[in-house]
Symmetry: C2
Subunit: 333 residues, 2 copies
DNA sequence: TTGTAGGCGTTATCAA
DNA sequence: TTGATAACGCCTACAA
């Protein structure tokens, strides 16, 4: 049972001082090629690796970042979080995921825990209100970036977001192009940064097609209960409806099965398109058209910017918009 | 810009020694009620919190655990991981999630990274082969528990698993009870600890109903490509088939849409039941019957056992089986 | 009941 | 180019 090696052991074994070993390890400072080789051989032979607790203590870093996410069971969120985590891991960072369940109190509690864990940075995904880190009265504020959620103080952070507006425009246009005359939007009652952009895109696409958006005629609000009933009532009042842009795929799927129950045929009677390109879209019947967000790019851009903020390099105050793409399937043919 | 407080500051502010402060914080050792109050007040006033890097360094712990998971986009895995993470977070542990993508090389690479990060414990979820931690030649071996994956050396670990066998028996029986005469099982070609138990359950349920399992007549293997074509061929050869037990919901959903394309009616012509109770089950058409795993319990038991292993309390060498439950929906009525 | 002091593994400053 | 050493914040024998 050989104990773990420390930098001191490596120093002794290779006949140099700890300072030199540290310099070789971090490729920092000056040393001869000869000593580098000597030291590196010993490191390999002993299978030494650095103790991060010690390093972090000394450097006053934790190499961990927190992620605040409203609902990890949502496909888009889960997907982005997973990709962020992978990229961060490669760079030596650990990730602490906090599912706030859209609860402000929970969010604050998590924030305090994260703060006390000494995270180096924070990623905030979506959520109802603008994100206000000043709720924490930490001496030195934690660098953070926001995805799909406007920060209250844009000065020292970066705001990253898909082009929700453009996605909504394209989705709505695709309904018109498929022959729809009276499309509506289906949304939940929650508002968020991304959903309001999507709504705006829908309205503008309507306007381009000479329809004036009317809240009671072009917009149905559906939360998870009573969807079939509400939809049925709405359709009886507005029987001319022939297209639905659902603000996300979860709602789209719900609408789809509600329509089947009501006895409507999709896409013959009514066409549907969603948003997010959930994997289940290809298993619905009919398969669901959608707008795909570029989660790879979102994750990469997010991490790049956060690391820059942590290292005090790069620019802040930016807003970065990531393009989306239209995925045509059966439901809007 | 007030700097961060350390235990030394708290000591000075409350007029006691650092040792006493430490004792109060950890409720460890003896001290008077008076000093406790004094110290705790100062801690509250200063909003002090402990520096974990220092604590971990001193105590030779990291308060972090790794999770090896084959595919985080799978609902069951994601669900369990999320719940484990939440429970661990409450206990002060960070979680490092590693998506191995069922790749042995990746798994080993991740293991080494985790080892070098100094994790206190490891959770291993599913995977093809028995888990062999001896691939790592760490001096002190890392405590670990396995979910749905047999450990190579059962002595020093705990094996946790749903009752896959019983679930498969109940699923198959429910098909018989719904009137099926010739049920088959649909599986992927991968084998895993859980899938072989499910297969065994299916076979035994068949036997109980006086059918001898025959690989070519009662078993169809479907991977993600060509599902509709393969299923169609199989059904032409075996037209008497009237029930399908899919080894998981992902396959079940695929089978369902394939059947609809072929022109079969579910559940009239063929009944289906899956396994895992994915959330999408209630959005398929018809809704999908399934076997539900108790992820809350799995997560809790897993964490409890791992923490015990880390603290050298509790028993090892155990296998723990968690009950499952049948969820009847339209597809097997 | 409380205090003193050493040491965990690193990095960085200062000398050599 | 290298080495000695202080310091990071904490816990814990040992002493008082």
């Amino acid at each position: 049972m050989n104990k773990k090696y420390s930098i001191k052991d490596i120093a002794k074994l290779s006949g140099v001082s700890v300072a030199t070993v540290s310099r070789v390890i971090n490729d920092n400072g000056r040393f001869s090629e000869e000593t580098r080789k000597k030291v590196q051989k010993v490191i390999r032979d002993t299978d030494y690796h650095t103790n991060f607790s010690a390093k972090n203590l000394r450097m006053n870093k934790s190499f961990s970042v927190g992620i605040l996410v409203p609902d990890i069971s949502n496909y888009f969120f889960a997907n982005v979080v997973q990709k962020i985590e992978k990229i961060l891991f490669k760079q030596g960072y650990s990730t602490i995921i906090c599912n706030t369940a859209r609860d402000e109190k929970k969010e604050l509690a998590y924030l305090k825990m994260l703060e006390s864990k000494g995270i180096d940075g924070l990623i905030v995904i979506s959520g109802a209100k603008a994100f206000d880190i000043s709720k924490l009265k930490t001496p030195q504020k934690i660098p953070f970036v926001c995805i799909d959620r406007e920060p209250k103080d844009k000065q020292n952070t970066v705001f990253i977001s898909s082009d929700h507006y453009q996605g909504a425009v394209e989705a709505t246009n695709s309904l018109f192009e498929a022959g729809c005359k009276f499309p509506i939007i289906a949304s939940h009652s929650r508002t968020s940064s991304s959903s309001s952009y999507r709504l705006r895109g829908f309205k503008d696409a309507l306007a381009k097609n000479n329809i004036t958006y009317n809240k009671s005629k072009n917009h149905i609000v559906l939360d998870s209960d009573n969807i079939t009933k509400k939809l049925n009532q709405f359709l009886e009042l507005e029987p001319q409806i022939d297209g639905i842009f659902a603000i996300n795929d979860s709602i789209a799927i719900n609408v789809l099965s509600a329509l089947l129950k009501i006895g409507k045929s999709v896409p013959k009677d009514i066409k549907i398109i969603g948003f997010d390109n959930d994997p289940q879209d290809i298993h619905s019947y009919p398969t669901l058209s959608s707008i795909k967000q570029d989660t790879d790019k979102i994750a990469q851009v997010t991490v790049d910017n956060l690391i820059n903020l942590i290292n005090h390099t790069g620019i802040t105050g930016e807003s970065i918009t990531i393009p989306v793409s239209l995925i045509q399937r059966e439901s809007s043919k």
